[in-house]
């Protein structure tokens, strides 16, 4: 079975632009979470979605938004990009939102903001 997939793998944007990152969960998984990993640090939680509804939100500004589609894939949008948004963006999927469900990570999208 395919694991979590993310696209694109790399992206270069300039300050002020907008970006959309995409994630396809493992088949059968209904929950998707997004994390931001700045170089040299641990991932920081951004959002969790389950059945197309937001179920959890981290401490990120409103420039960050996400949605989940009927096929459980997800998009993360970041508006008005700042240099500090440069990071690896990780998507993780799990069967559901219950706390004992393990989250499985994708390879990430490397975003560079110039």
């Amino acid at each position: 079975d395919a694991g979590v997939t993310q696209s694109p793998t790399h992206l270069i944007k300039t300050r002020g632009q907008q970006v959309t990152l995409r994630c396809s969960p493992i088949s059968g998984h209904k929950s998707v979470s997004w994390y931001q990993q700045v170089l040299g640090q641990g991932p920081q939680f951004i959002f969790q979605y389950y059945e197309k509804e937001e179920r959890g939100r981290g401490n990120f500004p409103d420039r960050f938004s996400a949605r989940q589609f009927p096929n459980y894939s997800s998009e993360l949008n970041v508006n008005a990009l700042l240099l500090g948004d440069s990071a690896l963006y990780l998507c993780a999927s799990s069967l559901a939102t219950v706390s004992q469900e393990t989250q499985y990570f994708g390879p990430g999208t490397r975003l560079l903001v110039l």
């Binding site: 640090q41 939680f45 969790q48 959890g56 939100r57 706390s99 004992q100 393990t102």
Partner: protein, 119 residues
Amino acid sequence: AQTVTQSQPEMSVQEAETVTLSCTYDTSESDYYLFWYKQPPSRQMILVIRQEAYKQQNATENRFSVNFQKAAKSFSLKISDSQLGDAAMYFCAYRSGRAGGTSYGKLTFGQGTILTVHP
């Protein structure tokens, strides 16, 4: 808020030897889950092992085992018979067992420990 601390930025081990990575966490909750994830240079984060706080028995997965000390809020990872493929960044992570709230589903990660394996 929960915090996770990994006090060893880097560790090294000889192939076939044993190494222990440290992790401490801070929480006021009694129901939670702890994880060790491995992130090789290719970036894909892989689950190594998980521990339920309500279980007293330490989790084991082949060469990987944990020493879970709930009272001390300590969760270390022991890698036995280290292999070259074990070289990676290792993250300790915490997840609340409490349903609901804006942080529901959130994994809180430590800063990571870079493990180097010498042949």
